[in-house]
Amino acid sequence: MNSGLLWATTGLAALALLLVTMIVVMRAFADRRLRRDAKLRPEIELRIVEHLALDDPEPSDRPQSRAARRLLLLVALEALGELRGAERQRVTELLEQAGTVADLKSRLLSWRWKRRLEAAEALVEVRSQGTVDALVAGLFDRKQSVRLTCAGALAELGDQGPIPAVIAVADEEAAEQPGAAAAILLALGRRARLSLSTALEPGHSPELRRLAAAVIGELHISDHAELLLESLDSPDDELVARGARGLGAIGDVDAVQRLLGLLDEPDRAWFVRLASIGALGQIGDSSAVKALERELYSDNWYLAEKSAAALRQLGAAGQTALNGALGSQNLEARGHAAVAMQ
């Protein structure tokens, strides 16, 4: 065997041995960590449940080892995901007293973006008021995921001060990360609902405004019904459709005339009419019967089907219109009416 081949074979064998050794060592470390966590976990759980069970618990001190601190955060995050109300707040207090929140704040300044992201994600759940300043600084992080997560954490806190900056981040990222932007707006809607009006203002991106309209409707925030009504005048059909759906979800009777008006606007996309029909059904005002009856005979299958369903929601007057369709010559309308009346 020539020496070149021998060297190559020896080299490959050494590399394989090194890889196997690394795997074995890493596995041994991982197993050791699992065993240590299994041993420590009951003690950490006891710490948390005692803190919750006692009426006036002793302030919690900082766990001695790094493993215990890591596990405290892990178990506390699990508990925070399951709890609400005063007990949830108690877990946050425990983490503040144990120095965990301070650790997370300093991790937001790490040079490693994954550590910053993990810290921000933990702070979304922890919701500690003492972290506002650190999270606001995180809104300007160079990593998009960290910015969005910090914005989400601030939205969950509902603190009024940073809200404009939070909305600015959602606005910037709404086109590329609509899911994350929607999650931020949903959190704002639950914690500081009046702030959503800012997101709907004309100065913001179309994507953000559409999301804001959808969230207002989803959360039934009737305080913003007026804003949704104004959005029906927008040239952006997507925004108008979401505004219409939102008004339907809120059940705003004052919106009926404007929604009927949308059905007569020839330049509107078909899905705007669809949203308007759906909203009129949800609102349930019988003044919409005539317009919906007209749509029942539309050539557009979706509009006709939606109109039949909407008429079903309009009580006796809607029922009369459906009965009329059952006896009509129009096969499609008869079919939709029959289905709606089942």
């Binding site: 449940v49 919750l52 399951e82 609400r84 109300g85």
Partner: protein
């Protein structure tokens, strides 16, 4: 009074158990539906706190099977679940679940509800 707490999430079991123990109950735990069913049949229980989503047998099936047996037909059950949709609530109440608590939940509230349920179902003197 002995209460069975059945949930596949260890953290939830600990949170609920510790609250109930602090309020004077004796608690046993199950980590899946099959274990819950076994314990409910073999132990003298005052009530069950049951998660809807569990491995092996889910919470609804556990309730169904308990309601089919004389010994456990009237056993008070509180159901916990991640989802709080109307269908889930109606489904649970339709099976004879006494109370339905969506997660996230408050262990104190759960204990207070349990106390009220047990007081109502206690035989009158």
């Amino acid at each position: 009074m002995k209460i069975l707490v059945a949930d596949d999430a260890r953290t939830v079991r600990r949170l609920v158990s510790s609250r109930l123990i602090a309020d004077g109950y004796e608690v046993i735990e199950a980590e899946d539906g099959e274990q819950a069913l076994g314990l409910a049949r073999s132990e003298q229980l005052a009530a069950v706190v049951l998660d809807k989503v569990m491995p092996k047998i889910d919470g609804f099936e556990v309730v169904r099977q308990l309601r089919q047996q004389d010994a456990t037909r009237d056993l008070p059950i509180i159901m916990l679940t991640e989802r709080s949709g109307e269908d889930d609530v109606l489904g649970g109440l339709g099976l004879g679940v006494e109370a339905y608590m969506p997660k996230p939940f408050s262990p104190r509230e759960l204990s207070a509800r349990l106390q009220r349920i047990l007081a109502k179902s206690a035989p009158s003197l």
